[in-house]
């Protein structure tokens, strides 16, 4: 099947508009992606045809809603190659999923235990661990990955007998590099640490096989992979999920309640208190289906080609600092000396190009790079070569206008 971003683009109604009279070039996909008709229709179909609360009422609509809700779980399990549907726990997003684990493992941590993260983490995979360390007296340690994400043998020394949790991103949101995930996970396993992978930036682009990664927990958000906001996933191995103390309690997650004690439900329900985000789960399953229907290697190759095209054009210009790698990434992250990225962003916006300027929720990484922020253009399957060029052209104009003193 030949991949064509132009025909795929037609499935995204929001992209068929202009911004301030210019063609809208949406290049902020690492923040959130746009949604295809397939997902929009699935969400609307839920409300039009089978909205009811799940798992309780024994009636026509409730049965349909429950079936579709659990089918959604199955679809997501297939998408990430989880061996059992019950290994997929719904969350609000990657952030909540990480918090579920950080609170859920608290009872196992002691003074001077170590929690290890990498230096490429988004605040979502940093702050929950730091706060967990504060609460328990454990120490937060940072494995210093280079900005090209390479594994150095000296990194081994960061794993110790006290390492209880190792949490790492699969792909950096700020600079687009992939981390040496499997090497790190294998290393963590030697010390019997719990392992968590933040897949938020990976799922839209790369095939994910949680069994192959062999991590205890894998988290991601729906909205970064063509699904709706407010829904995400905590995948876990059975033993890992069983050990988590539910960080929220209430209805749905219980089997029997008395004033003296409560018996919790089995997985996955034990970790899903309250009425779930049914529409979100159905929308996310539709997004998985949408991606499964595509020629995914071709999509990834296209997104990487766009990023590489921009990289190659800009590196020739000189005077632009590039922080993302030349190849094997779907985004470009840059700064221009003496010009604020917010100013570049504002000019790009004025000509219809949507990108992101700032720290990308990764203050420590920005400090490592020696910048206060970067400008990030991140690509999705519906972006075109014209948009990549529009970004380069307008960026170069902006540098000329802003760099005159």
């Amino acid at each position: 099947m030949a991949f064509n971003s132009y025909s795929l683009r037609n499935q995204f109604p929001i992209l068929q508009q202009t911004a301030y009279g210019y063609p809208l070039a949406y290049l902020d996909n690492a923040a959130t992606t746009q949604k295809p008709l397939f997902v929009l229709d699935a969400i609307q179909d839920y409300y039009r045809s089978f909205n009811a609360n799940v798992h309780r009422g024994a009636h026509f609509l409730s049965d349909r809603a429950t079936n579709r809700f659990e089918q959604a779980r199955e679809r997501v399990a297939q998408f990430i190659h989880a061996p059992e549907n019950s290994h997929v726990i719904w969350s609000k997003g990657a952030t909540e999923a990480i918090n579920m684990v950080a609170y859920g493992l608290e009872h196992l941590l002691q003074q001077d235990d170590e929690i290890l993260i990498t230096s490429l983490e988004h605040h979502a995979n940093l702050v929950p661990w730091q706060q967990l360390a504060f609460r328990t007296g454990a120490r937060l340690r940072v494995l210093p990955l280079t900005s090209n994400g390479e594994w150095e043998s000296e990194y081994q020394k960061y794993f110790t007998d006290r390492t209880r949790i190792f949490a790492a991103t699969q792909v950096s949101n700020a600079i687009g590099v992939s981390t040496p995930l499997k090497t790190m996970i294998q290393e963590a396993k030697k010390y019997s640490a719990f392992t968590l992978v933040d897949g938020a930036q990976a799922v839209a682009h790369y095939p994910v096989d949680v069994e192959d990664i062999d991590c205890d927990f894998y988290v991601f958000s729906g909205h970064k992979m063509y699904g709706p906001t407010g829904i995400g996933v905590l995948y876990g191995k059975s033993q890992a999920l069983e050990i988590l103390i539910p960080y929220q309690t209430g209805g749905e997650m219980v089997r029997h309640v008395a004033y003296q004690a409560t018996e919790f439900n089995i997985l996955p329900y034990r970790l899903e208190a309250g009425t779930p985000h049914i529409e979100g789960a159905i929308g996310l399953a539709a997004a998985c289906e949408f991606l499964i229907q595509q020629d995914r290697p071709a999509l990834l190759a296209w997104e990487q080609k766009l990023a590489n095209h921009v990289y190659t054009r800009l590196i020739k210009e000189g005077g632009i600092e590039l922080y993302s790698p030349e190849k094997n990434t779907t985004l470009v992250s840059l700064s221009v000396p003496n010009i604020h990225t917010i100013d570049l962003n504002a000019y790009l916006d004025s000509k219809g190009v949507a990108v992101r300027a700032g720290s990308h929720c990764a203050h420590p990484l920005m400090a490592q790079l020696g910048v206060s922020g970067t400008l990030r253009a991140s690509f999705a399957c519906y972006n075109t070569l014209e948009e990549a060029d529009q970004f380069c052209d307008v960026l170069l104009e902006a540098i000329e206008i802003l760099g005159d003193d």
């Binding site: 301030y20 009279g21 604020h340 917010i342 916006d349 000509k351 300027a357 922020g373 802003l402």
Partner: protein
């Protein structure tokens, strides 16, 4: 007498004419770049944490000086567009007393200057935080 008011500022009338003539976001951008050049930069000693305005993604420093009941302002930012916005804001309020400034509807005045997109609650700019600071006790 301090070194206020800043003599090289364009008049509010001139600023109004320049900004109201802008027909697009791009033109407003270019006009703000030109305006930004009118803002004298602060020294490093003046860029203290105390003078920094919270809520801006770009760094913004604002110093208020009262002279015979009138308020004058010195300001700076590491972002050029923000310096342009600061020129526009300061031109509206410089030399007025606090009561007058507090009575002014600066949000509407800036909206009239085609700057309403800088008044959103987006975390990327803190113009609202600047307006709040300008009228503070």
């Amino acid at each position: 007498m301090t070194d206020f008011p800043t003599p090289c500022f364009p008049t509010p009338h001139a600023i109004k004419q320049q900004l109201q003539a802008c027909r697009s976001k791009e033109e407003t951008f270019k006009a703000l770049v030109i305006l930004s050049k009118a803002l004298p930069r602060l020294s490093d000693e003046e860029k203290t944490e105390d003078n920094k305005i919270k809520g801006c993604e770009s760094a913004v420093w604002l110093i208020t000086v009262e002279d015979a009941g009138r308020r004058y302002f010195k300001a700076d930012s590491d972002a050029k567009l923000m310096r342009g916005v600061l020129v526009a804001v300061i031109s509206l309020v410089a030399g007025e007393n606090q009561q007058t400034i507090q009575k002014m509807d600066l949000k509407s005045e800036l909206a009239e200057l085609n700057l309403s997109s800088y008044l959103t609650s987006s975390r990327s700019n803190g113009v609202l935080a600047i307006l709040k600071t300008i009228g503070q006790n």
